[in-house]
């Protein structure tokens, strides 16, 4: 547990000093929103409406990918990752610390993106802000769990920026479907049924357990 807190503290302090990761992710997510606007110019707000939850999550996933790709850059400098591998604790706690830091950073970016999204496409997100935050947090948890595991893998391969999306995207389908479905229900009806939440909860549980255990082997040589 102290290992988890130490890693989380270290990652957040490091990010706070430079803020480069959050700024890059945020700018990128905003750009994606702008690109959507130009890519779908004549659609009109009404016809675009069914696609909006999906577009929002596409922006989130792209931003997350950008952030995850950098998550282990700081651990490669001075071979700090080997230093972590030496620690006499379950390496799963190291994973949880890194994943939690990614989750928090992504949450900050997501909040800003949601505001921009609401303004750009005239969506009334404010009315469902609280349940929407819950759904986004839940979806991001699954995204950040295997995302962090695969980032630890891809960062030590060639073409690391390419490798992460190739590894991550095909396995992200349950998270995406559940999160998009729940978001769509919130925007349409102001509330969300249990089915997508159940999918997200089960998927998160599986992803967290697998990543916690798998990290042990990823950090080994």
């Amino acid at each position: 547990m102290s290992v988890f807190l130490a890693i989380l503290w270290k990652d957040l302090v490091t990010e706070w000093r430079s803020r480069d990761r959050v700024i890059a992710m945020g700018l990128f997510a905003l750009l994606v929103v702008v690109v959507f606007h130009f890519a779908l110019p004549e659609a009109g707000a009404d016809r675009l409406r069914p696609a909006l939850p999906g577009l929002l999550w596409v922006a989130y996933v792209f931003a997350a990918m950008l952030g995850l790709n950098r998550a282990f850059a700081v651990e490669l400098e001075n071979d700090a990752l080997a230093g972590l591998a030496l620690v006499p604790a379950d390496r799963g706690w190291i994973f949880l610390g890194k994943a939690a830091a990614n989750w928090i950073l992504l949450g900050v970016v997501q909040a800003a993106t949601a505001v921009a999204f609401a303004l750009a496409f005239d969506v009334r997100l404010a009315a469902v802000a609280v349940p929407l935050s819950g759904v986004v947090a839940l979806g991001s948890l699954g995204l950040c769990s295997i995302g962090t595991l695969f980032a630890a893998i891809s960062v030590r391969t060639q073409y690391r920026e390419v490798m992460l999306p190739l590894l991550l995207l095909p396995l992200l389908v349950p998270v995406l479907l559940g999160a998009v479905d729940a978001t769509a229900q919130l925007l349409d009806e102001g509330r969300v049924s249990f089915a997508p939440l159940q999918l997200l909860l089960v998927t998160n549980a599986v992803f967290l357990i697998v990543s916690f255990v798998g990290f042990e082997y990823v950090l080994d040589e």
Binding site: P88, D220, E221
Partner: protein
């Protein structure tokens, strides 16, 4: 007290068809400094990584004070000082040590960090980011980081690399300190002169095998030098 601190039998490491280490035995008592010398690719780093539990041996075993390698209690006994420093440039010297102390569950992280900063002569720069340190200062901080949990076994991988003369001399003195404190050290280097000056045992590795073993101070002698040169030549 005569039980060996580090005990290894038949250590072997293969990566697919590549043999990195082909059968090494070790018996190191408390307070012993072993120098592992040999050319690049002889298996020095592999040996250290196996001892540290960073890699698994293909065959053979390691025990540290009787505890099998790789177990948590074994990792707790090890301080690893690599030629990479394991430091985070964005954190200050003090924060780096605090972080390491928390990772190892040291009981009083702040006090321990303070004591180590003073011991390494870094108290003045404790609040500067580690990224601004010279190679020599970073090395001193890295040693403090490696000793943060007061390990009985200290593994050093090419610690002299990149140090200027005064910094290397200071490192020499630190190694002697580690020995007087009763810690068991394994020092991997390709600098035979430095190794011979500080160690009381030496192992010449060549292509993953022990080409020569020497013991007793002072650790000079033509056989050791000849064995080392032969190892270097043989790998060329």
């Amino acid at each position: 007290m005569n039980a060996p601190v580090i005990e290894a039998r038949g250590l072997e490491k293969r990566f697919g068809p590549v043999v990195a280490l082909a059968g090494v035995d070790l018996d190191l008592p408390r307070g012993c400094v072993l120098a592992v010398v040999g050319p690049n690719g002889a298996g020095k780093t592999t040996l250290l990584r196996l001892l540290a539990g960073l890699a698994r041996p293909t065959r053979g075993w390691v025990r540290l004070e009787g505890v099998a390698r790789g177990r948590r209690e074994a990792r707790r006994r090890i301080g690893f000082i690599g030629h990479a420093t394991f430091l985070y440039p964005a954190l200050t010297a003090r924060e780096n040590l605090l972080f390491a102390a928390r990772l190892y569950g040291v009981s009083d992280p702040a006090g321990r960090a303070e004591a180590l900063l003073a011991r390494q002569g870094l108290a003045q720069v404790a609040d500067q980011p580690a990224g601004s340190f010279s190679r020599g200062m970073a090395q001193r901080l890295a040693i403090a980081r490696g000793l943060v949990h007061d390990p009985q076994v200290v593994l050093l991988d090419e610690p002299f690399t990149g140090l200027d003369r005064p910094a290397a001399d200071r490192l020499d003195a630190q190694l002697r300190n580690l020995r007087t404190e009763g810690r068991t050290c394994v020092l991997a280097t390709h600098d035979l002169a430095r190794a011979a000056a500080v160690a009381d045992r030496a192992l010449v590795l060549s292509r993953g095998r022990v080409a020569h073993a020497a013991e007793g101070a002072p650790l000079v002698g033509e056989t050791l030098e000849r064995a080392y040169l032969a190892a270097v030549d043989g790998s060329a």
